[in-house]
Amino acid sequence: MRLWLILLGLVLAQPLLADSNLPPAYWANRQLPDAKQEAKAEALMEELRCLVCQGQSIADSDAELAGDMRDLVRRRIAAGEKPAAVLAWLVQRYGSWISYKPTDEPATWPLWLAPLAFLGIGALLIRRRICTRARG
């Protein structure tokens, strides 16, 4: 009996959500009627990092703030703003961190140069191997 009560309690228990009682913003989970604008908004939303679940884009995140950001992105794109301008507005507030796209800031130079360095090391290794074989 006790076990059944505990199990029943587990089934009925609701997760404690740190969420508001308000419904999602209008454009949070609704596509723009203009397919071209929606495509632009979608591309930007996939590039933007969610402020709550920082490993997810706002397109993927279920956080309320991500919904509000999707609403903001769609609203601005529908009003004719360029995706780059919306991104710049957000970067001004949260830094380049808000975008998943690596920038060309000096901090990211190693990231861009690493493939070249590895190619160089690989070429060196191959050359040495060929040379030793030729000698042997």
């Binding site: 740190a18 969420d19 508001s20 009682n21 308000l22 913003a25 402020l51 709550v52 920082q54 309320e64 703030l65 509000d68 950001m69 609403d71 903001l72 957000l90 001004q92 507030r93 949260y94 830094g95 961190w97």
Partner: protein, 175 residues
């Protein structure tokens, strides 16, 4: 192959493992800071959150006197303890305005009746728009605005009783 080259992969592996263990032991800081510190409050106007309270606009913040803008919500648990600290700050003559994030008038009235009301004005931000415009990423957060309407300091999370001297000195600097 020389001995040094033969051991290079092992050395790399050890370095990689050391790096991973170090990151696990000291996790990266995940707080999101606003980049607007030192800049003017972005222009906004919010409707009133309660019939009995004046609404909040960015123009209300450049008053010739430093003030605190507190982003809070009735559904936010740490906000309950923070309100008592804000009451204390208010009793020391600090002007505090509120931005209620994603809140309803009923819930808000209930929250203030229960926990006290330190706010001069409260704006209702039902779609987190002003929150995003300020570069804030959650509740509670507070911004210290100087006499000319410039953001001087962002406090992430609840202001604890032990933060009061620090907040007062930040307000003094923002004069």
């Amino acid at each position: 192959m020389s001995r040094a080259v033969r051991f290079a992969p092992l050395v790399l592996l050890v370095l990689l493992l050391a790096g991973l263990v170090w990151r696990l032991a000291t996790p990266a800081d995940t707080t999101v800071t606003s980049k607007l510190e030192g800049k003017a409050v972005p222009a906004f106007t919010l409707p009133t959150a309660l019939p009995s309270k004046p609404a909040l606009a960015s123009a209300d913040l450049a008053t010739g006197k430093p003030r605190i803008v507190n982003l809070f919500a009735s559904w936010c648990v740490p906000c309950i303890t923070e309100v008592h600290v804000l009451q204390d700050l208010k009793s020391r003559g600090v002007s505090i305005d509120g931005i209620a994030v994603r809140d309803t008038p009923d819930d808000l009235a209930d929250f203030l009746a229960r926990n006290g009301d330190p706010y001069e004005r409260i704006g209702s931000d039902t779609q987190s728009r002003v929150q995003i415009a300020l570069g804030s990423s959650g509740v509670p957060e507070s911004f210290i605005i100087d006499a000319r309407g410039i953001i001087r300091y962002q406090h992430i999370g609840a202001i604890a009783a032990s933060d009061v001297p620090m907040i007062l000195s930040k307000l003094e600097q923002a004069r």
